[in-house]
């Protein structure tokens, strides 16, 4: 791990309810930390007695080493948020200094910031930094119901008329195609939110033929199209069956069972943890951004770090093939297509 992302011991200094499901947690780091706009921290959570890592955007940071994050409690999830909600002032937590992977590129003719639900957390720092350079980002914020408008007041103060809040329970929603079409061709879009929202933006962006490098998003692999369920992974080549609990990732379950894997990002970006799918009942809830839509539809590979199986089980072939037999010529598996 790079020194910048080394674990430190942070102390919870304050906990504050923002909405019925979102809690703001202030952390004090041992040394001053600086969070670039859009930065996140990684924290170690404990789920069912086992350590795991979660990422949270830094809402704001202060000169004295404090960083503020916000955590949405999700009942049917992998368990990280439940753990974070047990933290009270004085609690100690392993955390990394802020990691910058979502800092804006300055100087674009226009900016559109799109947030859905808890995806709002990087937006205050992005909007503040962009406005500091004289830009006027348009900020679209979709929430489920009026009580869930975390940070709406702060954003209104920051962005004024450039902020639009959409409340789903009141029948409001972002007109994604219209908003993208209204953005100048060299304009940039930054988004964070649930899978459905990000998929809708990505697909219209591609359909409109816009430059993919100008669409920026952050993916912590934390949400999917379905609530997480437990499922079984069959690994016939190794003769093992692995049970993946609702609050455990398939990658961790495979590793626990001694199935060797590769992984790097643990958030569905790098593709190293992908394994071959050779059998499937039910469906795969693909939560990665490594595979294309077409690849997702084919269900031939799965990113084990974030993606899950719903309403069924999966059979995979891991990378282990035994040592090669050098006494005979190599045979192309699957045969040669003419």
């Amino acid at each position: 791990m790079s020194p910048a992302a080394a674990w430190q011991h942070a102390v919870v200094t304050a906990v504050r309810g923002l909405t019925p499901t979102v809690r703001e947690i202030s952390l004090q780091f041992p040394a001053p930390v600086h969070a670039a706009p859009g930065a996140h921290i990684n924290v170690e959570v404990v789920v069912e007695g086992l350590p795991d890592t979660r990422s949270y955007s830094v809402v704001r940071s202060a000169a004295d080493g404090r960083a503020v994050i916000a955590v949405k409690r999700v009942e049917n999830s992998r368990g990280g948020s439940r753990y974070m909600w047990t933290l009270e002032p004085g609690a100690r937590l392993k955390a990394t200094a802020p990691v910058s992977q979502f800092e804006p590129s300055y100087g674009a003719p226009a900016y559109l910031l799109v947030a859905g639900g808890i995806g709002v957390t990087p937006m205050p720092s992005l909007a503040r930094a962009l406005r500091q350079t004289g830009a006027r980002p348009r900020l679209l914020y979709a929430v489920r119901n009026p009580e869930e408008r975390a940070y709406a007041a702060e954003l209104a103060e920051l962005a004024g008329d450039d902020l639009r809040v959409y409340v789903a329970s009141e029948g409001q929603g972002i007109d994604i195609p219209a908003e993208i079409d209204a953005l100048p061709q060299a304009g940039q879009l930054y988004m964070c939110g649930p899978m459905g929202l990000m998929d809708a933006v990505r697909s219209h962006w591609a359909r409109a033929g816009r430059d993919a490098a100008l669409l920026r998003y952050e993916n912590f692999g934390s949400g999917g199209r379905h609530a997480p369920q437990s499922f079984t992974v069959h690994v016939p080549r190794l003769g093992v069956q692995v049970q993946v609990a609702q609050d455990r990732s398939m990658l961790d379950a495979l590793n626990d069972a001694g199935v060797a894997t590769l992984f790097n990002c643990r958030r569905g970006e790098c593709g190293l943890c992908a394994v071959d799918v050779v059998g499937l009942t039910g469906d795969i809830d693909h939560r990665d951004v490594f595979f294309s839509d077409e690849q997702h539809k084919s269900n031939t590979k799965i990113c084990a770090c974030v993606s899950r199986v719903v309403n069924g089980d999966i059979t995979i072939d891991p990378a282990w093939r035994g040592d090669p037999d050098l006494s005979r010529p190599e045979v192309l598996e699957g045969g040669v297509t003419a």
Partner: protein, 366 residues
Amino acid sequence: MDGQPTFPLNAWYVAAWDAEVGRKLLARSICDQPMVLYRKKDGKAAALADACWHRLVPLSLGTLVGDEIRCGYHGLHFNADGRCTHMPSQETINPSACVRSYPVVERHRFVWVWPGDPALADPDKVPNLRWMDDPEWAGDGSMVEVKADYRLVLDNLMDLTHETYVHASSIGNEALAEAPFDAAHGDTTATVRRWVLNEEAPAFWGAQLGKPGPVDRWQIIHFMAPATIALDVGVAPAGSGAPQGDRSQGVGMWVIHIPTPSTSKTCYYFWCHMRNYRVGEQRVTREVLEAAKGILFEDETIIEAQQRALDRLPGREFYNLSIDAGSLWARGLIDKMIAKETAPGAAAQAAAPARSIPIVPAQVQP
């Protein structure tokens, strides 16, 4: 870098002459940050961190393809914003894939970069060197890599007494070393003013003026924090009114010196001589350029020897004389800028964006 930084990051630094940046990849390390510079097809200059996001190989070893750099190792493409636009053997692009893109301004014939917090990069903070673009002034310059702390170059320029001894054959003479001077400062500038009245002109200036007799000579040193020095220098026939503001009988130059820190012990020393006489004669431009190269070499020799002495004598401090007032004001302004960005909790920009961790195979548990 160990200990206290020697340069602020939140500042514009000259990374290259305008003519050095083109449709090819130019590697420069500015303030300990390796950068690769190039020009887009529309002529605009761009500067990216010179390390591929993937395996850190310098992008300057790659190829310019349109407005993008293709890494010379695995072919990843990066655009001028630093965004990855192509990855081999996959249908998508990792959304975290990027290299740092530095703010760039091209002004006064130089390409300036901002190594610090990009949100603070205000183009209005580029030093005003208007003579570089003014048709009433002619000249050219060059760049030399000096193996010394850029502040030693600034020290050298803030006290031109050294001309008498280092440049005795060209621009120095005894009268200069003995003339009184005035050192002053503002919020971002330090200025040393020195006039030598009714004295014989040194060899170089006598030739430029082309008139016999004693001269009034001026030498105004303008430091603009953190690394720009503009010298307002010239001679006029003694008594022709130059000290009162009428320089019409004389010849003058604005001599630009910009030692951009590369590391704490090396710098790119950009320099240029702009003159307001015989501006239509290319030959004079060439003659001044060649003469200046000789003078600069004399400075470089002394300054590099000084750096080696500093390295050999750790812990030894400079003794300061009254003639060092200008350089002390200049260093004070630099220290103030550094303190502002390194104060506890100040938004000190990390030198490089965080990157992913090395690949480690999962531990197989028994």
